[in-house]
């Protein structure tokens, strides 16, 4: 089984539009939306939720006002400045439990936190595992790990060839959680200086975790000088540029219609994405 994760560093480069199209093109796959705090893939795939599960994660300290003697030890020791006036700020609390261990009057308990939900859904293109992290919640990495694990389980059970996941932007916790142990990272970039800068950082994260990478330049014709610069950079890093997708408003039109672009239209963008999937699907890395 091959697990392909689509990342970009910079947001808004087209990850979800590409994964939505891969959903149409790939057979025998499970789809995963690893962008658990601003998920969009469902807007293209229109899932019907089959299973819904709660995501309990992390803990938050709660002070019992009756027992608290206001000695102030917890406030003094908390390194996250989460306790003020003998009250816990649930947003700042990192759930370490230090306060609950040291409180001399045992007034602090740690409560499990309902941090979100995850789903297994049917779409007309196959199974989708996705999630919704609660607003202002932590532990997105852990939720990503759960959706990936579930997708792997389903793919194994059904004997499928691929897991295709739509990754989050950035390079931090949810990205690392989406990436580690995957077989291939497809990095979607755009020919802007920001896109190049962010590509370099996310490529280094792939290296750090030993995941082979391929690059796709989206909207390559917005700035062809920058496109050449990306090509040179990739050459110097021995990373293949697997596709050049032109800028075309048809991608947004497809999104407005709630459809993957390869299903909505048969133009240049769709041909490039089809060729890209051909290439990605043939790679048997590791």
């Amino acid at each position: 089984m091959n697990e392909v994760v689509v990342l970009s560093g910079k947001g808004g480069t087209g990850k979800t539009s590409i994964v939505g199209s891969f959903a149409v093109l790939a057979k025998n796959k499970v789809l995963v939306d690893c962008d658990v705090d601003a998920a969009d893939l469902h807007l293209l795939l229109q899932p019907a939720i089959r299973e819904k599960h709660e995501f309990w994660s992390g803990q938050v300290a709660v002070i019992d006002g009756e027992k608290c003697t206001q000695c102030g030890l917890c406030q003094e020791l908390c390194r996250f400045k989460a306790i003020e006036d003998f009250r816990v700020d649930a947003v700042l609390c990192e759930g370490c439990g230090f306060c609950s261990h040291v409180c001399p009057s045992e007034a602090i308990t740690m409560k499990e936190n309902l941090a979100g939900q995850w789903y297994i859904s049917d779409t007309k293109y196959g199974l989708l595992v996705h999630a919704r992290l609660g607003i202002a919640q932590e532990n997105s990495g852990k939720l990503v790990a759960i959706v990936r694990q579930q997708a792997r389980k389903m793919a194994e059970k059904l004997g499928f060839d691929y897991i295709i996941s739509d990754g989050p932007p950035g390079i931090g916790c949810p990205v690392i959680s989406s990436l580690s142990g995957a077989n291939l990272a497809l990095l979607v970039t755009e020919p802007t200086l920001s896109g190049i800068h962010d590509l370099e950082r996310v490529l280094n994260v792939c290296r750090h975790f030993n995941v082979p990478a391929l690059v796709c330049i989206n909207k390559y014709d917005i700035n062809e000088n920058n496109t050449r610069e990306i090509e040179h950079y990739c050459l110097s890093q021995k990373v293949e540029v697997a596709a050049h997708i032109p800028f075309d408003n048809v991608v947004t039109e497809a999104m407005v219609h709630g459809l993957p672009v390869v299903e909505y239209s048969r133009n240049g963008v769709s041909h490039q994405i089809e060729a890209l999937w051909e290439l990605v699907s043939k790679l048997r890395v590791r």
């Binding site: 601003a38 807007l43 950035g170 931090g172 690392i176 959680s177 200086l193 920001s194 962010d198 407005v256």
Partner: protein, 288 residues
């Protein structure tokens, strides 16, 4: 006054708004631009600041003195992150899992645990064109941006106009960045993805009790549902930037909108005045 710039969805134009707002205001106000998108900071590409000073950001991780350790297992019991494992004759520490809470060293009955700083990122200070500049940068392979963001915010000015550029999303790094803002600008694009993520960003701002308004970028690209949503919810749309290939080209070359198209300075100033007016109205209505 702290104005933060968030979005939910990535690539909607936060950096464009942050840099052009800072440049438009610099002759009128004391301005500081603070890039809290420590995973992928991009403001420096546009402002090309001169960096004068940098400071590393560390997390305090435990170091066990095995001569003193009795392998009682207390440290592993209290660690909420499974960053310490105690075996019969040695102790394993997993620094990448450690949040640096300090519980293990404080609670060790033998006082066998000391703490050691582990670098996870840097904060850089400089200036550009009369604008004070601060940015954070998370090191490659590190998972926790929040301590870097905290350090960036701690060292930012607290007078003048502070413009805070934020990473996309709605989870911990965004929350840490938006907290304590006087106003939050939510930059979106009029597409289904833009709307979906705008709604999440609105919920985040509401949860944090921060006043907010919307900037619509690439107006004309998709549909009218973002505008309909803002109208329905009574959310002010404070600035609209049209879909324009010239703007996209400038942006691709790392040129700010107000430098590439100086005619945009006036709309940005008017936009800032609207933000300021809303902040004053809200704070005086609170006082009343």
């Amino acid at each position: 006054m702290i104005i933060s710039i968030a979005s939910g969805k990535g690539g909607t134009g936060k950096t464009l708004v942050a840099t052009s707002l800072a440049l438009s205001l610099k002759d009128r106000e004391r301005v500081q631009l603070v890039d809290c998108d420590v995973e992928e900071p991009n403001d420096h590409i546009f402002l090309k600041p001169v960096i004068k000073r940098s400071e590393t950001v560390s997390i305090m991780v435990p170091r066990v003195n095995e001569d003193k350790c009795t392998f009682c297992g207390k440290c592993a019991d209290v660690c909420a992150y499974n960053a310490i494992a105690v075996l019969p004759t040695n102790v394993l520490v997993f620094p990448h899992l450690c949040h640096g809470c300090g519980a293990c060293s404080y609670l060790c009955p033998e006082k066998a645990i000391s703490e050691l700083g582990r670098e996870i990122g840097v904060v850089e200070y400089g200036h550009s064109n009369g604008i004070a500049f601060v940015q954070g940068r998370l090191n490659i392979g590190e998972t926790m941006p929040t301590p870097v963001i905290r350090k960036v915010k701690e060292t930012a000015h607290h007078d003048g106009i502070v413009i805070v550029d934020i990473s996309p999303g709605t989870s911990c790094p965004v929350v840490e960045s938006i907290r304590d803002s006087d106003f939050c600008l939510l930059v979106t694009e009029p597409t289904p993805f833009g709307l979906n993520d705008l709604i999440l960003a609105v919920e985040t701002a509401k949860e944090l009790e921060v006043h907010f308004g919307v900037v619509i970028n690439r107006a004309g690209v998709g549909d009218v549902k973002v505008e309909e949503y803002c109208l329905r919810e009574g959310i002010p749309v404070l600035l609209t930037i049209p879909l324009d290939i010239e703007i996209a080209r400038l942006n691709s070359r790392g040129i700010t909108l107000v430098e590439g198209m100086p005619q945009w300075q006036e709309p940005f100033l008017a936009f800032f005045d609207r933000v300021q007016k809303i902040i004053h109205e809200r704070s005086s209505s609170l006082k009343r």
